[in-house]
Amino acid sequence: MTWLLEPFQYEFMQRALLACVLIGFTNGFLGAFVVIRRLALMADALSHSLLPGLAVSAILVGLSPAGLLLGGLLAAVFVALGGHVISRSSRVKEETAIAALYIIAFAIGIALIKYAGVKVSLDHFLFGNILGVGDSDLWTSYAITCFALILLVAFQRPLLLAIFEASVARSQGVAVGGLLGMLILLIVLAMVSSLQAVGVLLSLGLLILPAATIYLLSDSFDTMLWGGGALGMFGAVVGLIFSFWANIPSGPAIVLILGAIFLLAYFFSPRYGIFSRYFQRRHLHEESLERWKK
């Protein structure tokens, strides 16, 4: 067991561990909503649009975590809202509008980063570095985790209904637009919190992979929520240990671990895996024959 505990005698690894637990759980939990609402590509666009916000705040206030948080948040909200406005006011559909805005934002970000007063390497934003997690990053992650979990648990029922059948939710007086807006805000917050650990480009993996994996394993949304959180946490921690021993950056290590688990579920999930589906097809066919005979 020493190989398991050895990395954590260093203080930076202890911080990184705590960060992985917080970020992994929050993203995995939130991911359940992202997967069933089919927001994965939207989330990808939002993650890219964080970049100009980070660049502008790095230019204005340097690398303070609060500044980066606010900058990234504003940029992503600007892209999400802008996409909504463009799709409402023209014939361009929402996903096209958001893709157009985020790629513009991404280009602005890359162009601006050169002017940051402090020396910032693009790699740092794009891929993160969990070993550089500071106290303020941890506090930020902690706050975002609490905020997101409280909101998601409180609004789980109406949110679920709003995602499943928006018109039924509306007829029951649920504020569907407001709830989906809240979901997008939480996605952006969760991404900002995982920025330091895995960067802009890989943050999507933490958000999507755990929930997508559980989606292949279970028909229960509660399992997707809490199982996604647990799997996200597990994958992030295992990825951290993997990165220590394999001497690779933490971001790719975490995403590779989560990705491997996802692929295992894709092939071997008892109910929805492609192997088991292949071997069960005959059985299902007979079952459906039975049903139609009734």
């Binding site: 679920l160 499943f164 018109s167 039924v168 007829s171 029951q172 007086g173 649920v174 229960s220």
Partner: protein, 247 residues
């Protein structure tokens, strides 16, 4: 007349074009009403207006003496068309029916034995008890439609607004759905379903509401479902704000 749904001079627009004009009609609880009319007659628009999903431009909608203004919460259960649903959603039939309890549970209330028995009763009424633990895509079309009716029942609504519930159902599935619908009616509920298959109207519904942008006829099926009324509804020209072709 307190157990009544009253539409009084109701006008509703869809995409800013009036789709239902100055419609006045009233309905008793304990009836199954077919909402009939050609394509584009405003059937879905009217259902959505009663459900509080579209604003009423003129007139008022009243239920049991109270004006319905905006989403009605528990009292009205709206069941949209089956195509609008993602069937791979990670939810079982029981989970779907439990959704009907959400309005009365609010945010924090625990799912109580009372809620569980309401769900069990709804599953029973719609003949779904044996299928309760299946994921919803593993149901046939008729069973799926009954699952949505069961959820509406679990909501303990008084008015059930169904958008084309019989579309795509074969004869047996239609009959099973009609049985569940009649059980609701016999429990004193008001069911209004948009419907396009004129041949099955008499077997399924005891009342009809025939519209084509405006009221054509409303009343018991035996008296109102006549050739003259239908001819009138399916040939009349309706002002709709833009020209369209009658096929």
């Amino acid at each position: 007349m307190s157990h009544q749904l009253v539409l009084e001079d109701v006008t509703v627009s869809y995409n800013r074009i009036p789709a239902v004009h100055h419609l006045t009609a009233d309905f008793q609880c304990g009836s199954c009403i077919a909402l009939l009319g050609p394509n584009g007659a405003g059937k879905t628009t009217l259902l959505k207006a009663i459900a509080g999903l579209l604003p009423v431009e003129t007139g008022r909608i009243e239920f049991r003496g109270h004006e319905l203004d905006g989403p009605a919460g528990r009292a009205i259960a709206y069941v949209p068309q089956r195509e609008a649903v993602d069937w791979d959603f990670p939810i079982t039939v029981r989970g779907l029916v439990e959704m009907g309890r959400y309005p009365s549970l609010g945010k924090w209330k625990k799912f109580s034995p009372g809620d569980a028995s309401a769900v069990a009763e709804a599953l029973e009424i719609c003949d779904l008890s044996d299928l309760a633990d299946r994921q919803i895509s593993a149901l046939s079309g008729g069973q799926q439609q009954r699952a949505f009716l069961a959820r509406a029942w679990a909501q303990q609504a008084d008015i059930y607004l169904l958008d084309e519930p019989f579309t795509g159902l074969d004869r047996n599935a239609s009959e099973a759905f009609a049985v569940a619908m009649r059980r609701l009616r016999d429990a004193g509920k008001l069911i209004m379903a948009s419907h396009h298959d004129l041949k099955s109207v008499e077997a399924l519904f005891d009342h009809i509401l025939l519209i084509n942008g405006e009221l054509v006829a409303c009343g018991p099926t035996a008296e109102t479902f006549t050739k003259e009324n239908l001819d009138r509804a399916y040939t009349m020209h309706v002002f709709s704000g833009h020209s369209h072709d009658h096929a």
